[in-house]
């Protein structure tokens, strides 16, 4: 490592992370000049929401060593709860457009949905993972992975049985004309979705960095035994981690209800996208997931723009396969690489 800032800056650009980020920024700018600012706007809005889902995924893997494949279902729960909370308020909002209540009620629906996701996370940890943990921690990654796949199937089918398969969607949360940003018209809901994502990511980052509990979560992700030794309530931290990451996913789902109407398997797309992100960023790397989310969002937007819609899963998948072959620890490296070696 060098103390010389110019030299370390050059080193950073040469590193996998620096190279990818630089390339992404260049590609985004080039495409923006070529096709117009809406490329940038779309990337930022998609990336913001994707980062919420991906952050939770990275967190659950980093702290609990669970490769979570049911994460999309918490997104689905978010859409579902937001739908049932928001729909009854819809009429009231229509009659009172422009009032403070009309602006705040959507937030209520989204926050309630986020909290519901948190509660579901608590139930999941208590009913499923803590029982597996008590039984045996051998082959933990594989066993917990299989459990999450089962969980996903159960939740999807429960939705189908109880609420049916039809689309449960809304026209929009916030009334009013679209806002114009850089000559691009984007709906108020999209703007708000990005603002909410930005607020959540920032709040989450502050929480992880500056609070005692945030430090305890990081400690658990780095060394569980070490965490116990210094007096950290391990089970409490695991419960909180699962609950927080499910809440993030549900919050994301609820904020995007205007784009993703609720139906049983609505969570699959965000799940795959979020997995692209964490593989790209490095499993368990929570902050890397935020940057990765914007890169994957850009990739998606560019693919749709230049190759055509229908390809937006193919191109990232190919890229992920290439990354897994050449740089299995992800571009930003993982804080928890050791876990898989253990």
């Amino acid at each position: 490592m060098s103390n010389n800032p110019t030299v370390s800056a050059v080193e950073w650009f040469k590193s996998a992370a620096g190279l990818t980020i630089s390339l992404a920024v260049i590609a985004a700018l080039a495409a923006t000049i070529d096709r117009g600012p809406y490329i940038l706007v779309n990337t930022v809005v998609t990336g913001g929401m994707l980062s919420l889902v991906a952050m939770g995924l990275a967190l659950v893997f980093g702290v609990m060593n669970i490769p979570m494949f049911a994460h999309g279902e918490y997104f689905m729960i978010g859409t579902l709860v937001a739908y049932y909370v928001f729909t009854p308020m819809n009429g009231y909002i229509d009659q009172h457009t422009g009032t403070l209540a009309a602006a705040l009620l959507p937030l209520v629906a989204i926050i309630v949905a986020g909290l519901a996701g948190g509660v579901m996370g608590v139930l999941t940890e208590k009913l499923v993972f803590s029982n597996l943990r008590k039984r045996s921690r051998e082959n933990w990654v594989m066993n917990s992975f299989l459990l999450t796949v089962g969980l996903s199937v159960v939740l999807i089918n429960l939705h189908q049985l109880i609420f049916g398969t039809e689309f449960k969607g809304i026209v929009g949360y916030w009334r009013g004309a679209p806002l114009s940003i850089m000559d691009v018209f984007i709906s108020r809901d999209r703007c708000m979705a990005f603002v909410l994502a930005a607020v959540m990511v920032t709040a989450f980052w502050l929480f992880m960095t500056y609070t005692r509990t945030g430090r305890a979560i990081r400690a658990v992700s780095q060394d569980e035994t070490g965490a116990l030794i210094v007096g950290i309530d391990l089970n409490g931290i695991l419960l909180l981690t699962m609950s927080m990451s499910c809440a993030l996913a549900a919050f994301a789902g609820a904020s995007l209800l205007f784009m993703y109407p609720s139906y049983p398997s609505v969570g699959l797309e965000p799940l795959y996208m979020a997995w692209f992100v964490v593989i790209l960023a490095g499993l368990g790397n929570v902050l890397g997931a935020v940057v990765g989310a914007f890169i994957v969002a850009l990739l998606k937007v560019l693919t749709v723009e230049y190759i055509g819609s229908g390809w937006e899963f193919v191109v990232p998948s190919v890229l992920i396969i290439i990354i897994l072959i050449f740089k299995p620890s992800g571009i930003f490296g993982s804080e928890v690489r050791g876990i898989l070696d253990k």
């Binding site: 990081r218 400690a219 070490g226 116990l228 007096g231 804080e335």
Partner: protein
């Protein structure tokens, strides 16, 4: 008695390692546990620290049973365990690791006092306060693990092989720091490979072989015991 371990059986899964291990430590004592590799010394400390649940037996600390309590609750009672593997937080700095050691201490002023105490004891840690624990040398990491263990002002410290892999000079530093700690009133239970040195500095000792306590007594007596001399000192 500060710590009473009464006939504990413990092990890993179905594999039993400890067989009816009993030991006692009084407040302020400096006690060692020695034995050949694989005897179960670390297993004993882990069981006391709450990282392993004993299959049978009882552990009392300050007169209260702590048998089967999880590690974090044992730590909160005032038992600090410095493990063989150190279990540092590798992506945190030296100073962050030390502050994590004072996780149960909520008083900021007290935390700072402990930090100064540790930095005083190991000036090397103060020099490296901003370095990531994972990039430290083996000796520095040992110091950090011991330092982190002191941060909570424990009543009892369980220290597992602090001199393992250290150069002679660093070994001295580590033993000196334990001495200082002991003089500040902390009760210490030490597991060490360096039997000669350990029996010199401690008050009392237990000899563990094949998961059983074979001998117990004053360290000076143990040092001259024919069995100990034969097994550990090669004479």
């Amino acid at each position: 008695m500060l710590l009473e371990v009464k006939k504990i059986d413990a092990g890993y899964g179905f594999l039993q390692i400890l067989r009816k291990v009993s030991l006692e430590i009084d407040k302020g004592e400096y006690v060692c546990l020695v034995g050949p590799n694989g005897a179960g010394k670390s297993t004993t400390l882990k069981t006391i620290a709450g990282l392993i649940k004993p299959m049978a037996g009882e552990i009392l600390f300050e007169g209260h049973p702590i048998t089967g309590l999880p590690g974090n609750k044992v730590a909160r009672r005032g038992i600090s365990y410095v493990s063989e593997e150190m279990n540092l937080f590798v992506n945190m700095t030296v100073q962050e690791n030390l502050y994590m050691g004072a996780y149960t201490v909520r008083d900021k002023k007290l935390q700072k006092e402990r930090l100064d105490f540790v930095y005083n004891l190991f000036p090397r840690l103060a020099e490296r306060r901003g370095q990531l624990a994972g990039t430290m040398s083996g000796g520095e990491r040992k110091m950090l693990a011991i330092g982190r263990g002191m941060m909570s002002s424990p009543t009892l410290m369980l220290v597992d092989e602090p001199s393992f892999g250290l150069a002679p000079q660093l070994t001295e530093t580590v033993f000196d720091s334990l001495e200082i700690l002991r003089n500040s009133g902390v009760t210490i239970m030490l597991v060490e490979q360096n039997v000669t040195k350990t029996l010199e500095v401690t008050d009392r000792g237990y000899v563990l072989e094949n998961g059983r306590i074979q001998l117990a007594g004053k360290s000076s007596d143990l040092a001259s015991d024919p069995h100990v001399r034969k097994v550990f000192l090669g004479v």
